[in-house]
């Protein structure tokens, strides 16, 4: 079953993650300000946003590692703030960077952590995964006897993913899974995520600041900026909505002009009516999802008030 199969199923699948009006406040700063979204069974959902957008905070609340200030959150039908061990057994967690168990050996740790899941095994979902099979899946068979501290960054990350899924989770959280990867390692990792999402209808919630990654991996993208959701939809839906905006470039009397227009056809018609033959070098380019996202990231990184930023508003308009 490929990505499309998952998509089809996701459309009417049960809701696995349900977040409503989630708020997180540190002192006087609102890190999350009314975040609402949901993920269905079998779906791969990407939380996309620039650094500091609140992605990690959101995912840590869903993982049950952080208490929220306000709002309703349900993960596999349970409030993660009060999730017990049997709830914990159904979710897998891959955090941004692990440095633990450096003295342990790869297979030793994977088999050890798998043990804890055995009491939660069911006829439909036998737990845990066999450690050797899992090592083969993530391509670490040759390093099974290696000490963990000797692994490279990419190898370590693949082990982290193996540990995240050793209990055969119904829901897997991946926080910035490819940060610091070279392009080859990134592509391998994307293949791995696709394979995972094809297995057992595993629901995957991942965070990334890279639109390209979200586009490649996710059935649905939720864009988070300044603690608020500014867009929510499939990559196709988002780019269709974005493409209403276009950039028009032309020159007249040796001077270059650039204008962004909601209705470029009409704008160009008016342009010719007004200046006729003197308009030269005309170029009309529809803004891609990437252009709009990059503009948002640039504005936020330049220190503009992210929550009420004009670009963010533009996003909200098209997302709404």
């Amino acid at each position: 079953m490929g990505l499309h199969g998952v998509l089809r199923m996701a459309a009417d699948g049960e809701i696995v993650v349900d977040v409503r009006d989630l708020r997180m406040r540190y002192g006087r700063t609102d890190v999350l300000d009314g975040v609402t979204f949901a993920a269905r069974r079998g779906e791969v959902l990407a939380l996309l946003g620039p650094n500091g957008a609140g992605k990690t905070t959101t995912i840590e609340i869903l993982e049950g590692f952080r208490m929220r200030s306000a709002g309703q959150v349900s993960v596999l039908g349970t409030d993660p703030g009060h999730g017990g061990e049997d709830w914990r057994a159904r979710i897998g967690v891959v955090q941004q960077s692990w440095r633990d168990h450096a003295k342990w050996r790869v297979r030793e740790l994977l088999a050890h952590l798998g043990r804890y899941y055995a009491p939660y095994s069911t006829a439909e979902l036998p737990r845990p995964w066999n450690a050797d099979e899992l090592l083969a899946t993530v391509g670490l068979t040759e390093l099974a006897g290696q000490k963990i501290r000797r692994l490279s960054g990419g190898q370590r990350r693949r082990l982290d993913v193996a540990i995240g899924i050793v209990g055969r989770p119904e829901l897997l959280f991946l926080d910035e899974p490819t940060a610091g990867f070279d392009p080859q390692a990134r592509r391998d990792f994307h293949d791995l995520v696709h394979r995972l999402s094809d297995l057992d209808e595993t629901t995957i919630v991942l965070t990334t600041h890279d639109l390209d990654e979200a586009d490649k991996l996710a059935d649905r993208i939720v864009i988070l900026a300044g603690g608020q959701i500014v867009a929510d939809g499939s990559a196709d839906e988002l780019s269709r909505r974005m493409s209403t905006q276009a950039e028009v470039k032309w020159s007249r009397d040796g001077q270059r002009f650039v204008h962004s227009a909601d209705d470029p056809t009409r704008f160009v018609r008016d342009l010719f009516r007004q200046y006729g033959e003197s308009v030269e070098d005309l170029e009309v380019r529809r803004a891609s999802l990437e252009d709009t996202y990059m503009a948002l990231v640039r504005r936020i990184e330049a220190g503009a008030d992210p929550a009420y930023d004009a670009v963010a508003r533009k996003f909200s308009v098209v997302a709404g």
Partner: protein
């Protein structure tokens, strides 16, 4: 099989794996051997010196006291430092992300550190008994006393060590635990009879478990006549049991509360923030 029982078994597996790591890893093995060799050297030098007021070797007395000290120092400092370090590197968070992982982690830690302590007792005792004479190892009472002091010493110090580890924010600051314990050792009558210290230092020494562990071990392995140099000219078994028991009770009462609080506050970004702070200090 119940989840709890699985966690207990996984905890023992974990403890065993980490115990093996301690003795197959040059990083942890070399310091252990150096410290042990250093102590034996000091004891050999003081072998001909006698405990004041007796004809008994100070070196032999020191050997026995050190066996007691080893229990206390490992129980408090090693346990504390491991907990602080493994909170910093994310091991605890990993345990938290695993069902019943926290229980397994703690059981594993208790097994591993107890193992280190018991191995420490044995590896000090065996070479010691060849090099030093006069140890009362022939009687069953000696061994019984050694076993109950050792067992009670573990229960008195391991939970307290975990409490210390949960209170200190980083592995680096946990170094203070070792420093403080070094200070306490100095007033615990390990290297010289406590009766030769000023009264107020004697009082301080007797508050902590290290003195009582040393006394308990001396009572087990030294001739009865040596009790004459102790406070009250007695081995004070009842008081030993009382003080170590009080530490055990306090530790078992406080540790679960603090460990639960520590576990609750554990998250990926908390681990990352601590690491960042640690990196800043290095620069």
């Amino acid at each position: 099989m119940s989840a709890w029982w699985t966690a207990v078994r996984a905890g023992f597996e974990r403890g065993w794996i980490e115990l093996k790591q301690t003795y197959t890893n040059a990083d942890s093995l070399i310091p252990t051997v150096i410290v042990l060799a250093g102590f034996i050297l000091v004891m050999l030098i003081t072998r001909r010196t006698v405990v004041p007021g007796t004809h008994f070797s100070l070196g032999t007395t020191m050997l026995v006291s050190l066996i007691g000290m080893n229990v206390g120092v490992n129980g408090l400092a090693t346990m504390g430092a491991l907990l602080a370090t493994e909170r910093e590197d994310g091991t605890l968070l990993r345990a938290k992300a695993t069902p019943n992982g926290m229980a397994g982690y703690l059981i594993g830690k208790i097994v591993a550190v107890s193992g280190v302590i018991v191995i420490g007792v044995v590896t000090t005792f065996i070479p010691g008994s060849f090099l030093f004479h006069g140890l009362a190892v022939g009687s069953a009472t000696a061994w019984l006393t050694l076993i109950w002091v050792l067992a009670l010493g573990l229960v008195a110090t391991l939970p307290m060590g975990a409490v210390l580890g949960s209170l200190f924010p980083s592995a680096r600051s946990a170094g203070l635990i070792t420093l403080a314990i070094g200070g306490i050792t100095a007033v615990s009558g390990i290297f010289y009879p406590i009766t030769h210290l000023p009264q107020w230092l004697q009082v301080i020494g007797q508050v902590f478990p290290l003195y009582w562990l040393g006394l308990g071990m001396r009572s087990a392995l030294l001739p009865v006549s040596l009790a004459s140099v102790e406070i009250g000219h007695s081995w004070r078994h009842l008081a030993t049991f009382g003080v170590l028991g009080a530490w055990a009770g306090a530790g078992l009462l406080v540790a679960p509360v603090l460990l639960r609080r520590m576990a609750r506050h554990e998250s990926g970004s908390a681990v990352a923030a601590r690491r960042e702070k640690a990196m800043l200090r290095v620069q």
